[in-house]
Symmetry: C2
Subunit: 386 residues, 2 copies
């Protein structure tokens, strides 16, 4: 369990990421690029810790136009960061609210880019600046502003290396096994909370490092919400159940769901299940290098409309997958992102099939030269009944 | 397990939070206050979902000068948010990168505060703005800026209600039981990774909802890093082990650690353990309403210096605890926060006792009228040997 897949990465992985970044930086005329969010810091350094859950301290990485990235971080991370491929680790004894890395970051950016340099920072969709706004404004005013570099980070992270893909394969296989075990370990009479705990435990037993994302719901004949936390509701005959989990291996996510009925299901529920399954089939056929996320959306949406969809609230029908449970791009009617080899994507068609009743399917895949290669084990074509 | 402690909160909890907030808003002359981070949105609404791990969509709550808060959120959250005490739930079909809630948020703020109103936003230590910077700047320029309201949010969240404290008591009791079980379930010959998985499983079995934060390390005669992820290193006779976990019950954290030696320990390691234990004792004596976080720091630091501390990299000796694994305040030499009743705090003295060898203790407590009431079960005064 986990022993067959390499943990961590060779230094070449980080060298390649940095070189690809620096090539794009040169095209944009950037002298430096800085990042301050967990996936970006990890992407360039390999620094991997749940310590980011503490909001107290900001962390920075500066990518120069050539050479290795520079870490500007709280001293509590010095030992871990020094064990990565990064050579230049600059620290301060955070927390220090009056100057929490601000001077150290400004000095580093000035050294790398010069006072008049063009400095990139991701500011667009799906990004945020993880430091106090007051401190950000000090850094910003020192340099008179930054250049939005969302597109650089987005295009880097959307396309995975084989080493990253192998981690996705591993966690998707683990979660597929855990879903397959559900009919044996769930039954009516359990509460939702017991069912959640049982599933979480099964995923961990199968070899996942963690289950950071687990949502779901049960309801008589159908469910009305796909991002809920469990309640003490007791599962009854005739209930539908959805579980959707983002589990991790070595910091890479799976993200797919499964639906089950207990004892029996109505024909309408079975038809709704079949509709999202067929929509996924259509999506899988569409995914290939050269297609767009909008084509993927439209293909799946046509199947849902043909099957009487009353719409859905999710806002998209799948997305990128990686170090976060959702990443760029989004399969929407306007997204128009070009699909390229080695993207890791989800397909997530959903529909409202009756008032207050929704059905959502999800599969994970990697884009290969000849089309979609499934990472999750394909859901059964008909609603499984426990 | 978990059945004795109420999940969720009565509506009065949210009414009280909102009224306390509005009283402070009035003192600052604020017409509205908006927040966009998970703990703040949950604080005012009760909306609780791991969906925040997806970086795709921003979420907003606007607190008016009187009346209930208003939720401005993606439509995927409409059903869950509508089941909270909030009445006014405004949604848009996110993701919609060209206008991801920006117009809806601006309209709401304008309606509540007027175009010339004074609008608060947390911008200070331990806060960040969780939305794309480009979008934030559109909102900001519409109103000509916001008033930093960190102090309002900080003083609200630092002082817990009895209902919140009961959740802390419950999770700290669960994790204490799991730590107590460790000598029976860990042994030399295991890898660090196996030891982590065993401990995580034990915490969940004891009744925790999740283990979002688990770090630790082993090393021959001592450890050099307290925020590491596990490796395949095999635990040997003479190793020291530290586990530090932030586990949750109903969205409230524990955060404490324990140290163990396998088979034997050097006198220096035993002395270092005793030093941090004694420092914690001194801290527990100091904690009471009217003391300051700086006094708590100084009291513990004196004990460590007397015992030959070579310093530490943590930057503080404990912090607030709540919906996040660390919250305001920090026990530092400069923090000077006044300790008041019903604060939930950690004490976390740490020292470097030899080159590359650190020792950190941590306990959790609630401040009562007459001093500290422990939430974690007090660590043994002498280094436990497995």
């Amino acid at each position: 369990m986990g022993n067959t897949v390499q943990r961590g990465f060779l230094d070449e992985e980080f060298e390649n990421r940095t070189l690809r970044c620096q090539t794009m930086m040169a095209e944009c005329g950037l002298d430096a690029l800085w990042v301050c969010t967990e996936p970006e810091v990890r992407y360039f350094t390999g620094f991997h810790t749940p310590f980011w859950q503490s909001p107290t301290r900001p962390w920075f990485v500066v990518v120069p136009s050539s050479g290795k990235p520079i870490a500007v971080i709280p001293s509590i991370g010095a030992s871990s960061m020094s064990s990565t491929w990064i050579d230049d680790v600059r620290t301060w004894p955070a927390p220090q609210p009056l100057d929490d890395g601000v001077t150290l970051l400004i000095d580093c950016l000035r050294e790398v880019a010069g006072q008049q340099g063009r400095i990139g920072l991701p500011m667009g969709p799906e990004t945020h600046v993880r430091m106090p706004l007051n401190d950000y404004e000090k850094v910003c005013s020192t340099f008179g502003g930054f250049v939005d570099s969302t597109e650089i980070i987005r295009s880097l992270r959307m396309v995975k290396s084989e080493a990253e893909i192998s981690k996705h394969q591993h966690i998707c296989s683990i979660v597929s096994d855990a879903f397959d075990a559900l009919p044996e370990i769930l039954n009516t009479g359990m509460t939702e909370r017991q069912a959640f705990a049982t599933f979480r435990s099964e995923i961990l037993t199968q070899g996942a490092d963690d289950v950071p994302y687990l949502v779901g719901a049960t309801g008589p004949g159908g469910i009305n919400d796909i991002i809920r936390q469990p309640s003490d509701r007791i599962i009854n005959d005739g209930d539908l159940l959805i579980f959707d989990t983002g589990s991790t291996f070595d910091g890479y996510f799976s993200d797919f769901d499964r639906n089950f009925a207990f004892t029996s299901a109505t024909q309408d529920a079975k038809d709704a299940y079949r509709a999202v399954w067929e929509a996924t089939e259509a999506g899988l056929e569409t995914v290939k290098p050269g297609a767009t996320t909008t084509q993927i959306f439209n293909t799946m949406n046509e199947v849902l409309i043909k099957n009487g969809s009353l719409g859905n609230d999710v806002g998209r029908m799948g997305h990128g997958l990686g170090m976060q449970v959702t990443e760029w791009p989004s399969h929407t009617v306007e997204d128009e992102t070009l699909v390229v080899e080695n993207m890791v994507l989800t397909l997530e068609p959903g529909l409202q099939w009756a008032s207050g009743k929704v059905m959502v399917h999800e599969e994970n895949l990697v884009v290969r030269a000849d089309g979609a290669e499934l990472l999750s084990r394909r859901a059964a074509p008909d609603l499984p009944i426990i």
